[in-house]
């Protein structure tokens, strides 16, 4: 914190005080007194994103609400910062408040990575949301700490017509642990290798599918410092490097952290995956350690990377009219599956985005709002708000009509690889169902640090991974201690 004030003390120590007047500043004092009164009107007064049926600033009129309807505020946290997706969510909120005139929706953007900190602080402060949207690994951590309302999740399932409303086998693969449903799907995507078609054409190469082809393409499309062949975001503080390692480990037929809490980071499969990423890293920038996943959109649209791991959102965003991501640049991009392993194995990292009811105090509201979010028209508007990106995980949306979108029709391979990934792939670590150990290991940065050492410092793969393995074991042990009681 800036401490301009320290100065005064130093000076005061030496001499007497002058009584000069500070005219400009005196006004601040007066204003302070006035606003002191206003501060009594604290947090609970009109948030800009609160939707009330009558658009008044008054507190929710619980007493006047019809007896049958839902009342009170429903707080939803979601990570969708783009205006396109927010507008589609608003449609569902409006439908909800129309059906429940006594209720209001407060919608707050909580970034993917901020969720872990926010629910923990919110739990301590008694300010959890009623519904939260994030990825299953993060939601599972909240569930472990008993912040998720599994009964309300079950009520949502019942309200929309049972588990058959959702994609087949969803809950066993991603949503249920010890018999309790801790999340429900909102949409899904797959991690693809997104490449610059124009640079690939200029190099006279076909779509890179195998590890060798990807390495060759990265080398051919590497023109540093102007642009890199393949940018791997390796920054500490996000899990992008862990994701890449998991994807390539799966392509080699292995796993990183098992649901039983076993670390396989010292296995041959992980070693081979890391070795490939090391070779690929030669065609990446020296600054990889300060690049996070969040910057990848900007890097793609400023042209500094020829290939990257990303979802098809990076292409779809160009078709939404967003000024910063112009269509002519987006049209230079195309995508395919991530590099295949030596035996043709695939690593499909399911981009599963889920919602869950949390212990926010308005379970009825959470159920009704979730119902509105899942309602056919509202959900379709949402999953099409950024085309080519959000694939439905519920059976009320007909896949053919979803795919019948002009932008989506332009990218058949992207669609095919995404659908394959959603069908065959899994959330990292969820290969055999939900896994509460992988989240803490991935967020502990042990894998990020190992990959930085391997790619940027030339440390031996086996050494770096052995250290990551030790780190992972410590994290797992701590996690066991906490959840074991």
């Amino acid at each position: 914190m800036a401490r301009p004030d320290q100065l005064a003390k130093i000076v005061k120590s030496q001499s007497h005080m002058s009584r000069r007047r500070f005219m400009g500043a005196a006004g601040v004092t007066a204003g302070g007194a006035a606003l002191l009164v206003a501060c009594g009107n604290d947090s609970d007064s009109g948030s800009t994103s609160t939707t009330t049926p009558n658009a008044t600033d008054e507190p929710t009129p619980t007493t006047q609400a019809p007896a049958a309807g839902i009342t009170g505020e429903v707080l939803i946290w979601h990570p969708y910062s783009q205006p396109e997706r927010q507008a589609a969510l608003q449609q569902a909120y409006d439908a909800f408040t129309e059906a429940n005139p006594g209720a209001s929706v407060t919608s707050e953007v909580v970034a993917w990575g901020d969720y872990a900190g926010r629910w923990a602080a919110g739990k301590a402060a008694g300010e959890l949301p009623d519904i939260a949207v994030n990825i299953p690994e993060n939601i599972l951590a909240a569930h472990t700490a008993e912040a998720v309302d599994t009964e309300a999740n079950q009520a949502i399932i019942d309200a929309v017509g049972g588990e058959s409303f959702f994609a087949d086998g969803y809950f066993d693969r991603n949503g249920r642990i010890n018999g309790q449903v801790f999340n429900l799907p909102h949409y899904a995507h797959n991690r693809l290798n997104i490449y610059r078609q124009d640079r690939l054409d200029a190099a006279g190469l076909g779509v890179p599918r195998t590890m060798q082809e990807v390495l060759a393409a990265a080398e051919a499309m590497n023109n540093q410092p102007e642009y890199s062949g393949f940018v791997q975001p390796l920054a500490q503080g996000d899990v992008a490097a862990s994701y890449l390692l998991w994807i390539m480990t799966r392509a080699h037929g292995g796993s990183t952290i098992t649901a039983e809490g076993e670390s396989l980071l010292n296995s041959d499969e992980v070693g081979a995956a890391a070795e490939f990423l090391r070779q690929l890293g030669a065609f990446g920038p020296d600054s990889a350690a300060e690049i996070s996943q969040g910057q990848m959109f900007n890097l793609a649209y400023s042209g500094v990377t020829s290939m990257q791991k990303n979802s098809a959102a990076i292409i779809g965003i160009a078709f939404t009219g967003n000024e910063d991501f112009p269509q002519d640049v987006g049209e230079l991009l195309n995508g395919t599956h991530m590099p295949l392993g030596p035996d043709g194995g695939r690593g499909d990292l399911l981009g599963q985005v889920s919602m869950t009811a949390m212990k926010g105090g308005n379970a009825e509201g959470a159920v009704a709002l979730a119902q509105s979010l899942y309602q056919d028209d509202n959900l379709l508007a949402f999953v099409q708000s950024i085309p080519l990106f959000m694939f439905p995980q519920t059976n009320n949306i007909d896949l053919d009509s979803f795919l019948d979108h002009p932008t989506i029709a332009l990218y058949p391979e992207v669609v095919e690889q995404t659908l394959t990934g959603i069908r065959e792939g899994s959330v990292p670590g969820f290969e055999n169902g939900p896994n509460q150990f992988i989240g803490p290991v991935q967020t502990s940065d042990v894998i990020e640090i190992a990959m930085q050492e391997i790619i940027l410092e030339g440390r031996a793969v086996s050494e770096a991974l052995a250290e990551a393995h030790e780190g992972a074991l410590a994290v797992i042990e701590e996690e066991r201690r906490r959840i074991g009681g």
């Binding site: 000076v11 005061k12 500070f22 500043a25 206003a38 900190g117 008694g126 969040g294």
Partner: protein
């Protein structure tokens, strides 16, 4: 007045070059912030950089302040409410405590003064988490009230210290005259001592305002990232945003955050610097 140590010859050049470099380093980041904030996306994301914008515009500001669901206006309001309230409460509490410490003669006074100094030097990072636990237990985590309560803790000690020094320099005769005239101690505080301390109060107000407006850690933990988040926290979200931390927006957001401080600083600069340093030292 002729300075006998006025510069001559080579040393004059040396001083000029040194100061020019120092000023350039001090000023350039602000200039670059301004320039970046008015550039469109493609001019920000280019290398070598475009020093002067070709198509300057206020799009970044517009997006932060006026777009659908823009939360900057709310964050500005949050910062204002928290900052101004903290300033007002700090002024009131520290003026009272400062006078009590300067004029009172009670046991434990020295201990309190030392305690004030210790509290002033106490780094928030060392206590912020238990403070959060306490404020959360009281139900004020994530609210204005929680934030203000925490900020007053860290602003009060310095303000008290400063004002106690101020009151200590006031001639006692004025207050004693008031007492002889039958005024209560409280009246002589309000009507005699307080008006004479206006410069000190103003300094406290300015410093408290700037410090709270600029503060990050308590804002992050006590007020949190929710709907009451301050500009500092909102700006940090932009910095670490998951979905594209755009540098142009970051620059515009930074300008919005720094603007009131610059205005306050420049308009009160003479008073702050001369009153609290030069003036005081000369006096």
């Amino acid at each position: 007045m002729d300075d006998p140590r006025a510069l001559r010859g080579r040393s004059r050049v040396g001083v000029a070059v040194f100061l020019a470099v120092m000023v350039a380093i001090a000023v350039f980041p602000l200039i670059w912030l301004i320039l970046t904030s008015i550039k469109p996306f493609d001019e920000v994301y280019t290398f070598p950089p475009e020093y002067i914008p070709n198509n300057p515009g206020l799009n970044n500001y517009d997006q932060l302040l006026n777009s659908e669901g823009a939360d900057f206006p709310r964050m500005i309001r949050n910062s204002l409410v928290i900052t101004v309230s903290t300033t007002a409460i700090t002024l009131a509490l520290s003026a009272m405590a400062g006078y009590g410490l300067a004029r009172g003669r009670f046991r434990g006074r020295i201990l309190l003064l030392r305690g004030t100094l210790l509290a002033y030097l106490f780094p928030p990072i060392l206590v912020v988490v238990p403070m959060f636990v306490l404020i959360a237990d009281l139900g004020f985590a994530g609210t204005y009230r929680g934030g203000i309560a925490a900020y007053v803790v860290f602003m009060f000690p310095f303000a008290t210290w400063l004002l106690a020094s101020y009151f200590a320099t006031l001639p006692r005769e004025l207050e004693e005259a008031a007492l002889v005239d039958g005024a209560s101690n409280f009246r002589s505080f309000f009507e005699v001592a307080l008006p004479l301390t206006r410069p000190g109060l103003a300094a406290v107000a300015v410093f408290t305002f700037i410090n709270v407006w600029n503060e990050f850690l308590l804002a992050l933990i006590i007020v949190g990232g929710g709907e009451n988040r301050t500009l500092s926290v909102g700006l940090n979200n932009l910095l670490t945003s998951d979905e594209g931390a755009k540098l142009g927006l970051l620059a515009a957001g930074s300008m919005i955050a720094i603007f009131p401080v610059i205005v306050l600083f420049i308009s009160a600069q003479r008073h702050i610097v001369q009153g609290l340093t030069g003036g005081a030292v000369k006096g």
